[in-house]
Symmetry: C2
Subunit: 481 residues, 2 copies
C-alpha cells in the first residue's frame, strides 16, 4: 500500500449500501449482490427503512443504527436526502461516500446544481471524500469491491478511471473477453470532489497497475491534469478516450456528467505534449488496452504477416501500410533458405505470405514459415490471421487438430510481439451454435492463455501496433529532454 | 434474359468438371459437390481418368467420352494439360471454360506466362470463352451454379465480381450473415479473356441485379472499364474495393493475379469522376453492401440516435459527427411534445437520446421516443443501438420480451432509413453458448427479416450512411450534366 489518500478509501473493512434495493431490476440495484458475488470479506450493512433483511443480511433503518464504525458508503438515496445521509455517515466515521445518487448538475437545472455544491461543502466540512455523484463507483477485485455481478474475480494489472458508468461496465466486460484483468476500476461521474487527476495520480503510484485507461468527458483542473499526465506517462502507458469532441458530443457530455467540453484543438495539443495514447473510438480504446497489456512495444515498424490467402493477403498488405507499418518484402536470405529446403515457391512467395500459393502445405505449413520469420532479424513484429472457417469438414475436428494442420505452436511464439486477427462473424439464429463458432471462441481463449492479443480485423491490429510504436518513440523523445 | 454474351455462358444446361476430385480436402475439390448441393438441374459430368464414379455419378476418362455436347467446363487439370483439354472441349461444342487451374502469370515465371498467352490464343481460335484462370468461377443460385456447398440457395439482388476467389467466398458468407442474397457472383482471377468490364457490363444489364460489388486488383483496359463504370453507376450503385493500393499490396497483387497496380492517385481520380462508391476496407465494403441492399438513400444528413446510455451516447454523437452526419439537437416542438405528455426530462433529454436519464422507462420507452422521432420531419435517418447485454436476469427471457420491454415494434419502422448497431462481443469458450449470445443472434436474424441492416459499431454505421448520402449527391450532380 502507498500513502496516497485513495489507498485508505479503496481498502474499507466495512461498507454500507444506503437505499439498498431488494429487486435487481433497474440501474444501481445490484450493488449489494455485486459485493457478495465478488466475495468482499469485510462487513456489509444494507440500509433501508423499508426492509429488515436483504439477501440474508440484517437491514438497518439508517446508518446511525449500525453498531460501530463504517468505512465506506454506497449511496442510492434520492438527491435531496444526501445531506442528511452525509451527517449520518459522519456520525459513523465514514471516510468516503460513493454517490451513485444522480440528478444533480447534469440535469442543467439550477436547484440541482446548487444542491450538488451544498453537498460538496458539507462533505468537506465533515471530512468525507466523495466519489461521484452520478457514477457506478469502484471495482477492485482483489479487495472484493464491485458494481456488477459478472465482473471477473481475478485481478490483473490494468486500471480504468471512467467518467461514465455504462462505459466502465462495457469496457470491463468487453475487455475481459479480450483477456484484460483489472487492478482497479473507478467510475467517477460528475467528480465534484475526487477527480480524474486524483485517480490518475493514484494509479501512477499503484504497484498493482502497469497500464492505465481513462475515459474522460471533461477535466476539472486542466493544469493539474496535464502535469499529472506528463509525470505518469513517463512511467506507465496511459490510454485516453475523450468523449464530447464534436458539437453534439459536447451537448451530450453536458447532460451526462455536466462536463464542459474543452476545445478539441487545445485538448489534442495538450495530449500530444505527453506520451499519452489517444484512442479515436471505444473499439480502438480496447484494442490499445490489450496491446499494451499483452505486448512489449515492437522495436520497429517492420511487420511480417501470415495466415491470409489470395485477396485477403493483398488487403492485409494495404491495411498494414495505410496504418503506417512497413510491410517489407521477404528478405533475400529468407528466400534462399526456402529454396535450399526445396520449396518451389521460394521466389514467388512474398510478405504477406499468401497461403493459396503453397502446394506442399504439410511441410511448408503456416506454423513452419511463421517460425522461420520469427527467427529472421528483419522483422520487428508479426500479425497472424486465424480463422476456423472452412476447416471443419472432418468429423471430431478440434482446435488441436487445427493447430496441428497449420503447424502452429503458440507456446514458442514469444520472442517478438505477435498480434492475432480473429474475425467476428455476425451469426444469426440459424448458426449461433455451429461447431466453427465454438472453435472460434476456443481459439480466442487459447490465444489469451498464451498471452497473444487478438483483434477482429487486420486494420485494427495494424493501427494498434503502429500507435504502440509511436507512443514508444514519443516517450523516448521526451525522456531525452 | 438479355442478349449479353455472358447470358448464354451463365445458363449452361450441362457442365463437366474436368480433373474432378473424390476427396474434399484442399482448394477446388468441392466443385462437384457444390453443384449437387446447390441443386443444379442440368447434366453434370465428372471427368477424371482415375475414377469410374464420383458422388454417385458416372465419371468419364476425358471430355471426348461424354455423349452429346457440353455447355460449360470447370477445369481442375494442371496448367500444362489445359491446351489439350480445350481441344477436347471444342469437340464437345463447349461455350465457356472456367479455369480454376492456376500457376500461370501470377507465378512471375516466363514459361507460365507464355503458356497463359498460348491458352488465350487457342481459346479464341476455338471460339471458347474463358473465366479465369486462377479463380473460383460462378455462384448463381437461381441456376444452381456454385463453388461452395454452404452458399445460400436463395437468390437476391446483389451481384459481385471479385478478382480473388478467397475474398468472393468471404464476401458471400459474411454478407449472407448480414442479410445479403446474391443474384450472381463471379470470381475471375487473372482475367485473360472475359474481364472486369465484361462482368460489370453484364451486371448493369442484368434485371435481377440492383446493386453491384467489385473487388479489383488491376483492370485490363482502363478506358473501357471507366466508361462502363460511368454508364453503370448512372443506373445502379457500384461499390468497389481496390486491392494493391500500397507498395506491399502492389507486390501482393502481382503474385496473386499478376495484376499491375495502377497508381493510387490515378485510380482515385478516375473513380471520383463516376458515382461509384469506394470502400476503404473489406469491412466497409460489406457495410456499404448491406446499406445499399436494404436502404433507400437518406434525404439528408440529419440523424436521430437512440438506444445508448451515458458515455455510449456521448461517443455515438462524436462518431456520427466525425463521419460527417449532422446530429441535430432535439427540435423545440419535439421537446414541447415531451413536456405536454408530462415527462420531467423534456428539457434535459437530447439527441442522441441518453436512456440512462429517463425515469419512467415504461411510458417513455426506447420504442416510444423512437417512434416520435420517426414522425418528426427534422430527421432524415436513424441509428438505433441495440444490445441484449444486461437485460436477461429474468428467467425465460425472449427477444419478444426484450422488444416489449423496450417498446420496440420493428414492423412499423420503415418510413425513413434505419440502421441498427448490434455489437459483436469477442466471446471465449466459457461463454460461447450463453443465453445473451443466442438472443443477440436471434436479434440479428429478426432485423434482417424486417429489412433493417445492422453494423457492429456506431462508427461503421455512421460512415456507411454518410457514404450513401455522398454517392447520392454525386449521382444527382452527374445526372445534371
Amino acid at each position: 500500500m502507498s500513502h496516497h489518500p485513495l489507498d485508505v478509501i479503496l481498502h474499507p473493512s466495512s461498507i454500507a449500501v444506503v437505499g439498498v434495493s431488494r429487486t435487481q431490476q433497474g440501474p444501481g440495484t445490484g450493488f449489494l449482490s455485486s459485493l457478495l458475488a465478488q466475495g468482499f470479506r469485510g462487513k456489509i450493512y444494507p440500509v433501508n427503512p423499508k426492509y429488515t433483511e436483504v439477501e440474508g443480511l440484517k437491514c438497518y433503518a439508517s446508518l446511525r443504527e449500525i453498531p460501530g464504525t463504517v468505512d465506506y458508503v454506497i449511496s442510492r438515496v434520492p438527491a435531496r436526502e444526501v445531506p442528511k445521509m452525509l451527517e449520518d455517515a459522519a456520525s459513523k466515521s465514514v471516510k468516503a461516500v460513493h454517490l451513485f445518487t444522480a440528478r444533480f448538475s447534469e440535469t442543467g437545472r439550477l436547484e440541482a446544481t446548487q444542491l450538488e455544491q451544498e453537498i460538496l461543502k458539507l462533505a468537506r466540512k465533515l471530512g468525507i471524500r466523495i466519489i461521484g455523484p452520478n457514477c457506478m463507483g469502484v471495482y477492485y477485485p482483489a479487495h472484493g469491491l464491485s458494481f456488477a455481478d459478472r465482473f471477473p474475480k481475478e485481478s490483473g494489472s490494468i486500471a480504468l478511471a471512467s467518467q461514465s458508468g455504462n462505459l466502465a461496465f462495457d469496457i470491463v466486460t468487453t475487455g475481459a473477453m479480450r483477456g484484460l484483468r483489472f487492478s482497479k476500476v473507478i467510475s467517477y461521474g460528475n467528480a465534484i470532489d475526487l477527480n480524474e487527476s486524483d485517480y490518475l495520480d493514484y494509479f501512477a503510484q499503484d504497484p498493482q497497475t502497469k497500464v492505465i485507461l481513462m475515459y474522460i468527458e471533461g477535466v476539472k483542473d486542466g493544469r493539474r491534469f496535464f502535469d499529472t499526465l506528463r509525470r505518469t506517462t513517463a512511467i506507465k502507458p496511459v490510454i485516453i478516450l475523450k468523449g464530447g469532441e464534436g458539437q453534439a458530443g459536447a451537448r451530450a457530455i453536458s447532460s451526462h456528467t455536466a462536463s464542459l467540453a474543452s476545445l478539441t484543438e487545445v485538448w489534442n495539443a495538450a495530449i500530444s505534449q505527453t506520451a499519452a495514447i489517444a484512442a479515436e473510438s471505444l473499439e480502438e480504446f480496447i484494442d490499445l488496452a490489450v496491446s499494451f497489456y499483452f505486448l512489449s512495444s515492437p522495436a520497429g515498424k517492420r511487420v511480417g504477416v501470415v495466415g491470409g490467402a489470395g485477396g485477403a493477403s493483398v488487403l492485409a498488405a494495404d491495411e498494414c501500410e495505410s496504418a503506417g507499418l512497413d510491410v517489407i518484402p521477404l528478405p533475400q536470405e529468407f528466400r534462399e533458405q526456402l529454396r535450399d529446403q526445396g520449396f518451389p515457391e521460394w521466389d514467388w512467395l512474398s510478405n504477406p505470405v499468401d497461403f493459396s500459393i503453397i502446394s506442399d502445405r504439410k511441410r511448408l505449413s503456416m506454423g513452419y514459415i511463421f517460425e522461420m520469420m520469427t527467427k529472421d532479424h528483419h522483422f520487428d513484429l508479426f500479425i497472424i490471421m486465424l480463422r476456423v472457417f472452412r476447416r471443419t469438414q472432418q468429423p471430431d475436428f478440434t482446435l488441436d487438430k487445427l493447430f496441428a494442420m497449420l503447424g502452429l505452436k503458440f507456446d514458442i511464439m514469444h520472442t517478438k510481439p505477435v498480434l492475432a486477427v480473429v474475425p467476428e462473424p455476425s451469426l444469426g439464429i440459424e448458426n449461433c451454435d455451429s461447431e466453427e463458432w465454438k472453435l472460434t471462441c476456443e481459439l480466442r481463449s487459447r490465444l489469451i492463455a498464451n498471452g497473444i492479443p487478438f483483434y477482429p480485423t487486420i486494420g485494427r491490429a495494424a493501427l494498434a501496433a503502429r500507435k504502440m510504436i509511436d507512443s514508444c518513440q514519443r516517450k523516448s523523445a521526451s525522456d531525452a529532454f
